[in-house]
Amino acid sequence: MRLIQVVLVVGALSSLLAYLTYFRSALRDRLIALVLFGTAVGAIVIPEATTVVANALGVGRGADLLTYILATGSVFAAILLYTKIHNTDRTVTELVRSMAIMDAEAPPDSEAEEDGRLPVNRAA
């Protein structure tokens, strides 16, 4: 085994362990991580295997195939992250909006006598 293979396997293993330790994700996601890890280790230890797969798919070299997978993979990851951030933004917006409405300051004599509601800022 070459040195680079050792380094890469250790790297992949640390990533897997970090993922499994720090993210309490769904079982499905953890299985996906395991499969990805297995594939990565396979490709590192037996580099010729990637070429076999590449040839089967009509790609000349295994390294090229990996580049393609890497490129599409990062685009996919970016979209996934963007969606997550967008959802978080919506949650924050809703939260900030609710707080703003709850803590709104009504002018002192506003609606108290008109429709029997207490001004919002009297609560405190």
Partner: protein, 246 residues
Amino acid sequence: MQILSESQETGSDGRPADPGDVWIVVAAFNEVEVIRSVVETLQDADYRIVVVDDASTDGTGGQLRGTRAHVCRHAVNLGQGAALQTGIRYALMHGARYIVTFDADGQHRAADVPRLLEPLVDDRCDAVLGSRFTGDGRAVDIPAAKQLVLRLATIYTRFTVGIRVSDTHNGLRAFSCAAAKKLEITQNRMAHATEMLKLIRRHRMRFVEVPVVVYYTDYSLGKGQKMQNAFNIVWDCFTELFRRCA
């Protein structure tokens, strides 16, 4: 308070809306210099006012002390679209019958509000859009470049939203409470203007454009949307479209 029965014909005799039924929503971000005078001209007309202070850092909120405005404060800056949505929800919770959105930078005239309300009171429309480019509407001292961008925006809107209006980015608008309930602005930043038109179309609201006067002062030009925002707006709309497809 004047109570209008549902069957009563309110419009044909030209009776104006009861100001107590009208909520003016003002979204303000760092408008310390002008916010007080804007609110004062509105309260002189006896409208209910809610100012949404979008986490201003210049003491805009303090300027509202002693006015009759209700004040909602965003804990973090979310953008004009989000602030308008907060104000609209607040107004609806307080029994608004008509909701008017009004820019905080002093560009609009309170005197235009009754014209906007008229079609709503007559029940001819669900939404009324102020326009500086129709009828006797005017854009006083508008820079040529700004006018061009606004014209282009109307063409862009015609193709993307499928709505033909003469002024897409006018902050002065009015909605009936039923229409306002259907407005759910999710575009926090500036693309909400286009989003509102999309919502008007999606919910098949009856709308009309009413001529209004918009003043361009050195202040509003310094504060208002920068030209590069046009790009941001297109970008926001594009990503929204993308998410809808995905």
